[in-house]
């Protein structure tokens, strides 16, 4: 188990390292001149050089690369943001948490709803309920998340006035530390973006669960559970669904990765101050240290969830031996 975990972590670290390298060179070698954004062309050449030097941009490329690597690995330092003129890490610190909270809430919503619906769909196969669940799942799968977000804003925020339409908390709302994330106000802001994101990812766990359940319902131990006189609800969830969980849950890793990647759009629509929104902002301002760091952090979150899901896999199925 520990060996497995170690191997998995080393794999992830190597991948991360290669990713850092690819990203570094991608930013430096592609045609856009990132310095243009921060160095005013009207300044004298000396001043331009000075500003470049202050960001280390006067060094040869390979040196910049090693300095960059060294700073990330030794100091967790991703450089200075061109736009904010402060360290990237301090800009992103709160963004990371915001993104993870939104993403995790969304995936939990998608999977708990998807698994329950999928289990019931298989149990009541051929019913109107099954048909309509499939249609709803497919619709939200085919609709771009940002569009669903806009529609939900139209209906639930502007139309019905149930939810705030942007941001993470009301202006002037005072709270500090971790309590910022446990307030009703925060929750109120979280519900709509998390629901929209979750609906987009609903179809897969739902359909996988349904198919797995269809297999399980023919197993002898389900028949035995009926013979034991257990209540139907207990048979569906405690016996059947628990066994059908595995195929759907193993997709959680890749889905969480996709979700965190696609969260850019939701954060944009709902003005959610997270990593994804920061990528859009930074990219449009050519603030490449910030864009680069946001991108890497998102990739890091993706890998973290991949490792986590592998562990979950073993926990769910006692037959798995590492």
């Amino acid at each position: 188990m520990l060996i497995f975990l170690g191997k998995r972590l080393i794999q992830a670290l190597i991948a991360l390292f290669i990713l850092i390298t690819i990203v570094f060179f991608m930013f430096r070698l592609l045609p856009a001149d990132p310095t243009a954004a921060m160095v005013d062309a009207s300044l004298s050449p000396e001043t331009q050089m000075q500003i470049k030097a202050s960001f280390g941009l006067d060094q040869p490329l390979y040196k910049q690369y090693f300095i960059y690597l060294k700073n990330i690995i030794l100091h967790g330092d991703f450089g200075m943001s061109f736009f904010y003129r402060e360290s990237v890490i301090s800009v992103l610190a709160s963004r990371i948490l915001n993104t993870i909270i939104l993403g995790t809430t969304a995936i939990i919503f998608a999977y708990s709803l998807g698994l329950i619906l999928g289990a019931l769909m298989a149990w009541y196969r051929g019913s109107l309920f099954e048909m309509s669940s499939i249609i709803v799942g497919l619709f939200f799968k085919a609709a771009p998340q940002f569009w669903t977000g806009m529609i939900f804003l139209m209906i639930f925020s502007y139309g019905l006035g149930w939810f705030p339409y942007s941001g993470i908390r009301e202006a002037g709302y005072e709270a500090s530390g971790i309590m910022k994330y446990f307030s009703m106000d925060f929750l109120h802001h979280l519900i709509l973006p998390a629901t929209v994101t979750g609906l987009y990812y609903l179809a897969q766990p739902m359909l996988l669960m349904r198919n797995a359940m269809l297999e399980i319902t023919n197993e002898p131990f389900i028949e035995l559970a009926f013979a034991k006189g257990l209540p139907e609800r207990r048979i569906i969830f405690y016996h059947a669904a628990r066994n059908a969980l595995l195929p759907a849950t193993t997709t959680l890793a890749t889905k969480m990765g996709q979700l965190i990647g696609g969260i850019v759009l939701i954060e944009y629509v709902f003005s959610w101050p997270g990593l994804g929104r920061e990528i859009v902002m930074a990219a449009s301002r050519y603030d490449y240290p910030l864009a680069q760091a946001s991108f890497l952090l998102i990739a890091f979150v993706v890998m973290f969830y991949n490792v986590l899901a592998d562990l979950l896999y073993g926990f769910l199925d006692p037959r798995i031996v590492y």
């Binding site: 085919a142 609709a143 771009p144 569009w147 806009m150 804003l153 696609g262 859009v280």
Partner: protein
Amino acid sequence: MKSKKINLLFNDPLAVAGIIILTIFIIIAIFAPQIAPYDPNEIIRVDGKIQRLQRPSGEFIFGTTYMGRDIFSQVVIGSRIALRVGLLAAIFVAIIGTAVGLVSGYYGGWIDTIAMRFVDILYGIPFIPFVIILVSLLKPSIWNIILAVSILTWRTVARIVRSQVLSIIQRPYIKAARVAGASDFRIMVFHILPNILPLIFVEMSFIVGWAIISEASVSFVGFGDPRVVSWGKILHTAFNNGAVRVAPWWVAPPGFAIVLLVISVFLISRGIEQAINPRLRDGR
């Protein structure tokens, strides 16, 4: 054999529905300039007054934008971009993915290891952020969006093709061809490829939908090709002009167009999948 499978596809009502919807979109795209009543960028004035945010009516089927442009015409013209991005991305991805998968699975060894490790790393790259960054670094254009989508998406095709190759390569006729002295290239292209083609088609139709949504997403956050009208860009403009608050008719049509088009390719790929895989057909 082939025609039998095509028949199966046409016997599946959902797949037929998908084919019909897709055909309608293709017809609209081809005749877009004839169908659209206005130039999508034209600022429409009546008696010198700009027709801002007009509700849907006989004159403007889907209403007008804040700048007084006809939304129906924009959506009609937008279908061209969606289809172009979808089809081209799917073709590129299929070519790259198939080539890598074939070579990787066929030769095995270190080629395979390197290719598959690389694919693993690609799987760790968050898709939309990557496309946004690449497009912004390369300057926004349709071609760059297609390129960015293709660079990442071939990973799925490569994996699927490789695993298929690994099983096909064990079949006796491949060994026979090898003994008969066929070149590696010949075996890959003439003996292995035809067997995986249907599966590649299934993947391609998924990618069409995926690419359409990606283009819309990238355009929506402001990295779309400034010279063209796409559904994502219509929504980008709508969002930035507060249409969510004041003009639902501006938001709904391009979104529904995306949903319909994507569902149609879903249905078609599902149809192909069931036609080639009899196990999926009976029962569920």
